[in-house]
């Protein structure tokens, strides 16, 4: 099947308006005859479910957590971008569009990104109307801060808990519709298969995680908003339950999976402390506004620090290497995430790492504390030469900005980040790849849509900070509600879809057989054992730096683990009860397939771009070397029975508004 991205005609800035003017609409009386399933209740799923219900559709929403409010969007810290230009610093829709395309290393679809930039302003208006308590200035107007990869302040935030506040906004909008009966909420449910009837997505099979019951749910359209697949690395900043299962199941039913190798490694996470570790914790990118990243300039200093003989505060200014400021003077510590991550890895690989494992760099606030302290002292007419006073005043300012993050750091690491620099290291954070969707956010399965992080659409090969929240809410609040109506318009007279068809029967049996096989295999190893093994291969060979040999090995090794998994995994308890180990194993089974496709995609893409860095393809300075002639396309993979047999389809990317150049932040 040829890929049709269905991008409307016209100039990039008119496409979305023209599109909306000409789509089919469903009249309000008919909307109540149409059912829509939404899987996932994060920013994308939650906002979509609420908006679709407001419009009048009957929404059936599903989440694996005990409440929609707990989706992992809640953990997003830094902020959400919008081209409001409230700061008057030259921001505009075009500039947000341009920054995003450039930030994505020219591997995103222009039309989608421009639409995203257009609706970004509506998101802020909508959220404020909902009562989201964004940070404000003393004049009562909204405050902004700047994020990596941009030269303007366009990020709206609510301290270090922006994702939480936005999600609770969407959750409250959902609650209003649940209360009205327009959303039927299914908590603690996991989607385990998609049901296709006559070529269209018409329902899902879900497991009730409390009772273990396998349930059939039908609808006129199915929306997947199940987030990203960063947990394929085992250790990531994703929640423990974040999984690829819903997205992978639709892939196996015919939805193409695009660019799986585009993974964001976030530069500022708390380093790994030991083998027991179950997950990694992010320190918001906003910290790079005020924190300076460095390692010792001398190898012997780094060694002494690792051995505990030297403290970071004892290293003289001249003996520190502020490597981001050195390499990228224009953007300094605010270079995009992929660049900051690779630079940290480069220094640590060269032996300058600063924790026991040698995999950490410093994020230092001493300069910011001093700068703010002096400001405050002047403001309050106090003695700016009194060091203790300046530090005290400066600490207050920093605490006010990032207090909750510093507290989180202290609880985990047991060190006071006001007094000694934080230690950070890159960790898997976000996946730009995902199910392929056209301009309507529809996958290659008619009636099956994919929104938010679970699709591939807007970020290209790298995502700029504060853009994920923007995309999730844009898709859910402002894009899908239009595009899904266009799809549903012909279905208004269909009536309720029966769950008694052979297709539902077949899908349910499919799920039951897989569970049966896992429960009764006579294995002896915990599911986590396989997940950790997979994660190690992914991190070592498919992580921040990849090469052809490693990727080939990884594919074979992952296939082998998968085989071992089905034979050896041990799941205690029963299938017809609350069984967290069974739920986990079902997710790991899908990661074990995705991981292989991931490596295959990374191997085929013979270039470096954004989050995908192939050691063979770099500039003499060690920057990513794109190959626009041969790889300016979206790689969409079709499932053919096994990840290794997946067939590649290409969607050529056309850039009419942005000139492709070597990305530079120098």
């Amino acid at each position: 099947m040829a890929l049709d991205s269905k991008i409307p005609g016209g100039s990039v800035s008119d496409k979305w308006t023209n599109y909306k003017d000409h789509i089919n609409l469903v009249n309000p009386a008919n909307k109540r005859n149409l059912d829509i399933i939404v899987v996932g209740t994060g920013l994308a799923g939650g906002s979509a479910a609420a908006t679709l219900a407001e419009l009048g559709y009957n929404v059936k929403a599903f989440c694996f957590q005990d409440s929609p409010r707990r989706a992992h969007s809640i953990a997003a810290q830094g902020g959400i971008n919008a081209a409001k230009n409230y700061q008057g610093d030259g921001d505009s829709t075009f500039r947000l569009f341009y920054d995003t395309v450039k930030g994505g290393d020219y591997r995103a679809r222009e039309a989608n990104v421009h639409r995203l930039a257009e609706v970004s302003v509506n998101i802020i208006d909508q959220c404020v109307a909902q009562g989201v308590p964004f940070a404000r200035e003393y004049g009562g107007l909204l405050d902004n801060r700047s994020f990596g990869g941009t030269l303007v302040s366009r990020t709206f935030y609510a301290k270090g808990q922006t994702g939480q506040q936005l999600l609770l906004g969407a959750y409250s909008a959902m609650n209003r519709q649940i209360g009205r009966g327009k959303i039927k909420m299914h908590n603690r449910h996991e989607m385990l298969d998609l049901v296709i009837v006559n070529g269209k997505a018409r329902g899902i099979i879900a497991r009730n995680l409390v009772t273990g019951e396998i349930e059939r749910h039908s609808a006129h359209a199915v929306v997947i908003a199940s987030g990203g697949y960063g947990n394929v690395f085992f250790l990531s900043t994703n929640a423990m339950g974040s999984n690829v299962t819903a997205a992978w199941k639709i892939h196996k039913r015919g939805a193409y999976f695009a660019n799986p190798c585009y993974t964001q490694i976030h530069p500022t996470c708390i380093p790994v402390s030991g083998d027991h570790q179950a997950k990694l914790t992010l320190m918001s990118e906003s910290l790079r506004n005020d924190g300076r990243i460095w390692v010792p300039a001398k190898l012997e200093d780094a060694k002494a620090i690792r051995e505990g003989k030297l403290k970071p505060t004892q290293i003289a200014e001249a003996d520190r290497d502020y490597y981001l400021e050195r390499r990228y003077p224009a953007f300094g510590n605010l270079v995009p995430r992929d660049i900051a991550s690779r630079a940290a890895k480069e220094r640590c690989d060269a032996g300058f790492g600063v924790n026991k494992t040698g995999e950490a760099v410093y994020l230092d606030f001493a300069a910011a504390i001093e700068r703010y302290g002096v400001d405050q002292a002047r403001l309050k007419h106090l003695d700016e030469n009194d060091t203790a006073l300046v530090i005290k005043l400066g600490t207050e300012v920093v605490a006010n900005k990032y207090g909750n993050l510093f507290q989180m750091y202290e609880k985990i690491v047991d060190e006071n980040p006001y007094a000694t620099p934080m230690m950070i290291y890159p960790a898997v954070h976000y996946t730009m790849g995902g199910t392929w969707v056209d301009y309507n956010l529809q996958t290659t399965i008619p009636g099956c849509f994919s929104i938010g992080e679970s699709n591939f659409s807007d970020h290209g090969a790298n995502r700029l900070g504060a853009s994920a929240l923007m995309q999730g809410l844009a898709d859910g609040y402002f894009v899908l509600p239009y595009t899904i109506g266009d799809y549903l318009a012909p279905d208004i007279k269909m009536g309720t879809i029966s769950t008694d068809s052979a297709e539902f029967e077949q899908a349910e049996n499919n799920v039951k057989q897989q569970i049966e096989a896992l429960m009764n295999n006579g294995g002896s190893k915990p599911a986590d054992y396989f997940h950790k093994k997979l994660g190690k291969i992914m991190w070592d060979k498919v992580g921040m730096a990849r090469n052809a040999d490693g990727l080939t090995e990884a594919q074979n090794e992952i296939a082998a683990i998968r085989e071992e998994f089905y034979k050896e995994v041990k799941i205690p308890g029963t299938a017809d009860s609350f069984n967290p180990e069974l739920a986990k194993a079902l997710r790991i089974a899908d990661f074990l397939e995705l991981g292989e496709l991931f490596a295959k995609d990374a191997l085929h893409r013979n270039e470096s771009c954004g989050g995908h860095f192939r050691e063979e393809y770099q500039t003499p300075e060690g920057e990513a070397q794109r190959d626009d002639e041969n790889f300016a396309y979206v790689a969409a993979w079709e499932y053919k029975g096994s990840p290794s047999d997946a067939v590649l389809h290409k969607e050529q990317l056309v850039f009419d508004n942005v000139k492709l150049v070597q990305r530079s932040y120098k």
Partner: protein, 248 residues
């Protein structure tokens, strides 16, 4: 570290539960409490026993999914943390640790340490929102300036993660801190004032219907709240409720 865990085991909602003792060894101070339970569970699997079920998800203290009543306190002995952010350095070698589910009639046990906090969702559904449809053409976000002080207090109330530690800690299993946080967030913002009266009346009615106990101002909730939600919110809700009722 070597520890003795005394854990509440209960097969399902209908079954009787009891405390079961598990010795555990090799625990390091840098581990989180839940990582310690992960280790216990892996050991149980290898032994062929059923694992201890507990709720958890983000493991960075924000989703509100983890619970656990540890040694007589919600989220354990540390302050301003959820269980997932509690680290084993807060315990000593040889300690005995009681691990129980959050207990309240309104939070029935599903299995072991997992409880059903659906009552919280139902309270929010009864009025924890501002009735504004998604249109993309609401007024510009900067049309109504909001004093920073009010916005900050609304934010502080809004940081509630809905974990239920307040209910678990309260000797009366009262949900007042949780409900008042949402009531306060909206009562402090001009957008929320329009429906403030109906909101507080409906949310309190639902709270009562769920079977939570009555607040007696012991203040335990505020101390145990991982987000430090202030008792001030309860006073504000009482005020809002009284004025809404009297207005009728």
């Amino acid at each position: 570290m070597k520890l003795t865990l005394k854990i509440w085991r209960q097969k399902n909602a209908a079954a009787e539960g009891k405390i079961v003792e598990y010795p555990i060894d090799g625990i390091e101070p840098d581990m989180s409490f839940l990582e310690m339970l992960d280790i216990l569970n892996d050991e149980l699997i290898v032994k062929g026993e059923d694992t201890v079920a507990f709720d958890h998800d983000c493991r960075e203290g924000i989703c509100g999914m983890c619970s656990l009543y540890i040694n007589g306190e919600a989220h354990g002995p540390d302050r301003l943390v959820t269980t997932c952010q509690l680290h084993m350095r807060k315990f000593k070698d040889g300690d005995t640790i009681f691990i129980e589910p959050f207990r309240a009639k309104a939070f029935p046990v599903i299995k072991d340490l997992v409880v059903d906090r659906g009552a919280f969702d139902r309270i929010q559904q009864s009025g924890g929102f501002i009735s504004v449809n998604t249109s993309g053409n609401t007024i510009d976000a900067n049309t109504i300036p909001i004093p920073k002080h009010d916005a900050d207090r609304a934010f502080d109330a809004a940081t509630c993660i809905g974990c239920g530690a307040c209910v678990a800690s309260c000797k009366n299993s009262s949900a007042m801190l949780f409900v008042s946080a949402k009531v306060s967030q909206f009562a402090l913002l001009p957008q929320g004032k329009v429906e403030a009266a109906d909101r507080v009346l409906n949310m309190v009615a639902q709270m009562d219907a769920e079977g939570f106990g009555n607040c007696t101002n012991t203040g335990a909730c505020e101390v145990e709240c991982p987000k430090g939600i202030s008792l001030e919110n309860i006073a504000r809700m009482n005020r809002e409720y009284l004025s809404a009722s009297l207005k009728g």
